[in-house]
Amino acid sequence: MVTALAVIRLRDLFAVVMLFGIYSLLSASLFVVLDAVDVAFTEASVGAGVATVFMLGTLALTTSREKTPAAHKPLLPLLAVLVTGAALIYGTFDIPHYGDPGNPIHQHVAPRYLEDSAEEIGIPNVVSSVLASYRGYDTLGEVTVVFTAAIGVLLLIGDARRRRSEDRSRPDHEEDA
């Protein structure tokens, strides 16, 4: 949380990205505390690893300094954030309490997964068997999303690179190469 607050204040984008990596790692350790080891693996590798590398790559291609906003007034965004936060906190009074085994979320399909997946799938890790078998279509959709995003990134960046090498004569966008 402290790192998240620091992300708001800092103007050096390199430090912001590094702090974001630390924030991801901290949230990964929070996931371990909350029994979600698989999620923690993914968050540590994807959030703290890959996302940081992507952001650093972007900074290398663009600029690593945020300009001081001259005309920005923080009052209106702050008001919007406070109102939304107050509404959300009002909403939490209705949420079932943390860690209670009688919560509605634990009554539906989760007990069946925990009891029967050992015989039906044969993998001790319930998260894996749910991910790959019971909710396999979700994972297929996820792969589709990643594939589409990869196509988009290639179209955006690959195309731009080719165009830049074509019009070298124009001098205005040279400094980012």
Binding site: P69, V81, L88
Partner: protein, 144 residues
Amino acid sequence: MPRDGCNAPAPQSAALRGWLGTTNKMQILGLYNYWIFIVLMMCGFYVVISRGNLVKKLVGLNIFQTSVFILYISMGKIIGGTAPILTGTATVYSNPLPHVLILTAIVVGIATTALGLALVVRIHEAYGTIEEDEIHAQSEDEAL
């Protein structure tokens, strides 16, 4: 464990009145996780709407996203439970379903972040800046 207000006909006001009336310690602890999530989410939200730098907006969006992950994972937690890996020794496991959903969400999140960063690189090539107001100024100049 009492979960007052959940089955009442007017749950919102009943829960609020119960909370304000008793204010016992268990209830505050039971909601603490959700408040952390709200504070984080609002941090991300503030960065997204108040900062003009596009990379910083994406970082804020990621913080927002992670706060939602924390909400889901803390919903799946059972006090005294262990990670949902069937070892034969434990009896109480945390709910595996939110874990699966959030695994998917993390991967989809990195895909969208990568796409956003690629857009930022393209915007920088077209406009020479990644500050929102400078881009707006340039577009208006071109329109005139």
